[in-house]
Amino acid sequence: MLRWLPALIVLGVGPVRPHEPDAGRPVVVASKPFGESYILAEMFSQLLEAHGIRADRRLGLGATQIAYGALRSGAIDVYPEYTGTGLIAILGLPPEPDARTVFAHVAAVSAARDGVRWLPPLGFENTYAIAVRRTTADSLHLETLTDLGRSGSGLRGGFTADFIGRPDGLPGLVRVYGVHLREVRALLPAVKYAALAAGRVDVIDGFSTDGLIARYDLVVLRDDRHFYPPYEAAAVVSAALQRDNPAAIAVLTELSDRIGVPEMRALNRRLEVDGVPVAIIAADALRALGLTPGAAPATADRAEPQAGGAGGREPLGAYVRSQRGPLAAMTARHLLLVGISLAAAILIAVPLGVGLLAIPRSADIVIRVIGAIQTVPGIALLAFMIPLLGIGVVPALVALFLYSLYPILRNTYEGVRGTEAGTVDAGEALGMTNAQVMAYIRLPLAMPIIMAGVRTAAVIDVGTATLAAFIGAGGLGDPIVTGLALSDTRMILSGAIPAALLALAVDALLGAGQRLAARRWNAA
């Protein structure tokens, strides 16, 4: 079984890290959500463990901004990053062609600005590879990105959201090569190769080390104007780890200049094409490099080798049965995230909705402002939290809390405001104070509507909580994020199906509560 799954579940609410050096604490190793990043992070972790240093894995963090933000704030200690990405997407500097210059520049600015240290590169470059099907390349005579700029106006692009947004991604292609495609879709890394192969899109962004380029017989268009800077992979290390555990940094440096392009491509192929678990790939790679002893690493015995390629994996049912312990723990974590954030939202939003009745002219503005939070995409909201709250459970709870406020607030306000006028008039005319009208008439009569708001918020929460995995908060999003990164449908479903069932169950439960709230006195 995939050995990092249990590791991810135990991510708890860690105490805020003290600022005194703490050499005994585990090293928090993270990755970005794609296969190569998982493999490298797993190699970092196993190498540390081979030297008796505990590793706490937080794999599959959102994307560049979340992972680097977490590193800068000290929420994680190390993750694999690429120098070109650091130069352009993180530090916002102009592209440069020379690999040594880029590394020196990035290392100097990161250290000065964020206290982050770039260890010497691992030995391979992984640049963007703009790929098309061979038939497309032949019919349009595409060999270079210049050709794509000239003849690509009828093609459909399918790019990762990261690529569409970053300056060295699509905007750069537009600026330097004049690439204007017929349409551009945002695709998850896990599906873009399949989408290209199936003819749903015609151009994708890949990585030069991707194992799937050869498998699908794709043509990578040459960067003939040398737009892309060098993207050398390297471990980036937090200021906290430099202070707490220099020995761990020395261990990680053992990997510097040890992994070449052919080696990395072979590792990626084992993952993407053969479907071998990351832990085994990493353990084999470390042994092959002579960095761990010949015997299997202590952690690998939990991982069972799997025969055959991606198609030959055990069926979903058997997989879910074998994972029911971890899945139960993830479901419990998921419910905990939803329950706590929802309870907090009720405690704030219901009194606020009641209070707004006293200031009806400002009420709409307040509700609209709270509603605007709803329009912030989940992953963006989580990213905003990192500088304030780091990663893990706390920022996830805060984000879910913020998402829950609006439906509860809106329904509470409309519910207490919309109480039938005759009933309220009777109460007032017979001598109820305003507070009594609220407590004994408006609130009880609004209860079914408030409950409906809570129900909406709960269902939104169950869905949104799957995103919490992007910032290492656990829950049923973990297998979804990992499965997406590793193109493992079975793993995706093992998280997505329970999450969907959970949403249905929560909806049904609260629906019953809602009916109960009104059943006795409703003329139904």
Partner: protein, 191 residues
């Protein structure tokens, strides 16, 4: 409708402007047109509202007595929800609620308007008997001059917010003060 535009309204000799409106309202029984019962309270709790607001420990007993007054058996009706009652029963509960704290003044806003003719006549008759036996001051708002003639000691005819005439029903007939009053009586078929 709380502060008069001009003049004074006095209850038991005290101008209403000198009283706390909440305290004053608890001293006036109020019956709205549609009953205005709280749908989430059982009949008993509805009827006990004002004594309960006044902090009377015997509020349930007062509610029971009031229900008895309007002809509803508390044992039978006390535990029902308002939606389980007929329109006439609901209106009886509303009157019981208004009477439970034994106010000196009753204010009824078209209390029988939304009922069918038989129920209306029935309830009107009960109310007339009740008012005489309790000797309570009742101000009843109605559009039905026939109802006013049957129930009232004195009728004030209002037009555009001004009083056209205040008189016992008999005087209205014999000596209408304005053409409007005369026409109103003619139209109502009471001559």
């Amino acid at each position: 409708m709380v502060t008069p535009d001009g003049g004074t309204i006095s209850v038991d000799g005290t101008p209403t402007t000198a009283l706390d409106p909440v305290v004053l309202r608890r001293r006036i029984g109020y019956v709205p047109q549609d009953g205005g019962l709280f749908p989430h309270w059982r009949v008993w709790r509805n009827a006990a509202l004002v004594p309960w607001l006044l902090g009377n420990a015997d509020a349930p007993a007062r509610a029971g007595a009031a229900l008895q007054l309007v002809g509803l058996d508390p044992a039978m009706f006390g535990g029902r929800w308002p939606h389980q009652l007929s329109g006439g029963q609901r209106q009886r509960v509303a009157i019981a609620r208004a009477l439970a704290a034994r106010p000196g003044v009753l204010l009824l806003d078209e209390p029988f308007g939304a009922l069918d003719a038989i129920t209306r006549a029935d309830l009107r008759e009960s109310f007339r008997a009740l008012r005489r036996s309790l000797r309570v001051t009742a101000i009843l708002v109605t559009h039905d001059l026939r109802e006013a003639s049957i129930l009232a000691d004195r009728v004030a005819v209002l037009r555009h917010g001004r009083i056209e005439q205040v008189a016992p029903p008999g005087t209205l007939h014999t000596a209408p003060a304005t053409p409007y009053v005369a026409e109103l009586l003619a139209r109502a078929g009471i001559q």
